[in-house]
């Protein structure tokens, strides 16, 4: 148990030591998005009745920041450790592969929540959020962070160099998060793209998370929960299998 707690502590300490880069910068980026999009679209777009566009935007931006930073935490830590070789310090001790997975995913959730919470705290006084169902907010934040943390572990193990990880991040994670309904409701899309959006698991994370604030969503929160929980179970099983066989970690 102590090995796991130490690895978790080390992973949290790692991002906290460079918190300008890992926490403050993504919060500022989210605020810039909010400033620009709300300035341009506030008077032109209304997604739900009784919800201003800026209010609609805030939970989406918070969740997008949470997801992107959860992914960044586990993936960047692993690739750095692999490239510099210090991953050996985590492979030599008696830490089980399940503990290894849990420590990286929980640290990813921690960073995601710190950043997501930072975005909400910085913007909550600007907009009207009604916090309709806080438990849904928490459940989607935890599951979303865990999924992206697990994806980060997979990407970090798979990538042999920073370039490959950047490709994973920019060509898979970034489009999925930007096209997940953060900035719009998918009902505003043409039918074909609405259908495509339903294959994006991040859409369900954002939609379910937003439901917690407004009590309205594009799809039922139960559907979103089922999809997100299913993704979490599948990704966890796959990542644990990779770690168990030692893929790219133990020759």
């Amino acid at each position: 148990m102590d090995g796991f707690l130490t690895l978790l502590y080390k992973e949290v300490l790692r991002f906290w030591k460079v918190s300008f880069q890992t926490v403050a910068a993504p919060i500022l980026t989210a605020l810039l998005f909010l400033l620009i999009f709300s300035h341009v679209l506030e008077k032109h777009v209304r997604v739900y009745e009784n919800v201003s566009y800026t209010s609609f935007l805030v939970p989406g931006l918070g969740m997008m920041s949470l997801l992107q930073n959860a992914f960044a935490n586990s993936s960047s830590s692993l690739i750095q450790s692999k490239v510099t070789g210090n991953i050996i310090f985590m492979l030599l001790p008696p830490i089980s592969y399940a503990q290894f997975f849990a420590a990286f995913v929980l640290a990813a959730i921690a960073r995601g929540i710190v950043v997501g919470l930072g975005v909400l705290l910085a913007t909550v006084w600007l907009v009207d959020l009604s916090w309709q169902a806080p438990l849904w907010i928490l459940v989607f934040a935890l599951l979303g962070g865990a999924i992206m943390g697990a994806l980060g572990v997979i990407a970090g193990i798979w990538a042999d160099k920073f370039d490959q990880l950047a490709a994973f991040q920019n060509f898979i994670i970034m489009p999925l998060t930007f096209l997940s309904g953060v900035f719009y409701s998918i009902h505003s899309l043409p039918p074909f793209w609405q259908q495509v959006s339903h294959f994006n698991p991040i859409f369900y994370m954002i939609d379910g998370f937003r439901y917690g604030f407004f009590g309205v969503s594009d799809v039922s929160p139960l559907t979103s929960l089922a999809v997100v929980a299913g993704c979490f179970v599948a990704l966890t099983a796959f990542t644990l299998w990779l770690l168990r066989i030692g893929y790219k970690l133990r020759a």
Partner: protein, 300 residues
Amino acid sequence: MGPAIRIEGVTKRFGSVQALDGIDLDVSEGEFFGLLGPNGAGKTTLISALAGLVRPDAGRLAVMGHDVVSDYRAARRQLGVVPQELVFDPFFTVRETLRIQSGYFGIRDNGAWIDEILANLDLTAKADTNMRQLSGGMKRRVLVAQALVHRPPVIVLDEPTAGVDVELRQGLWAFIRRLNRDGHTIVLTTHYLEEAESLCGRIAMLKQGRIVALDTTANLLRRFSGHTLRLRLADGAALPEPLKARVVGDSGNALAFSLERCEEIEDILHALRGSGCRIDDIEVGKPDLEEVFVRVMNRT
């Protein structure tokens, strides 16, 4: 009680390279054991297999009776490895690094032992310095410290003195010797053969993934090396005919004779005196591991 390390029929192939080719080896508790061989002989692969970083294709390895695959967590608690590569985590100070490494092994309050390791490795003044700011030699000593935080009964050092200056090297060996006297089993790989000769009680030599020599250091020296007598004869002196066959090296005036026993020196000198040869210079070389190494590697 079984051996500290047991290696049975271990093979490992990387693509077309047979890195380990049927290694059988036991290292007893309390031994100071040397693992020697040229680059690419399989030393690091064998150590990695022992540490669980490499999975063998066949065979089994155990540390203090714990199989490194089926009982890997117990095996790893018994083993401390100093890796060959100079690796470090740039986010942390020396003390943070050692506290974290202790935690990985389930040790919470390890401050006293960490202080002792730091003192023995002459790192106390650098305890709160970030790893990035240390010299190469200091980083190497932190690697040694990391391998010792959990007081493992078996310590494996893979080229621990590469890039470490003479003074620090001596300090490091004094510390490792003390650990060995205290009962720790030490396995060492090094390219500094004089270090292996002075430290190791037993040595295995590897070549192309196989053990080509395995014996006590004393026996290896006896079997593959011996005293050498080097003579420089005065100008114009001709070597007596019976001695010519015994010359193993001839560089100008300096002649080298290989001796099975020290008493043979007297026989050679007697023959020279008898033929009126005058000697300008004389030198007796002791057996050394480098000669053993060269002979073993050339023989196989």
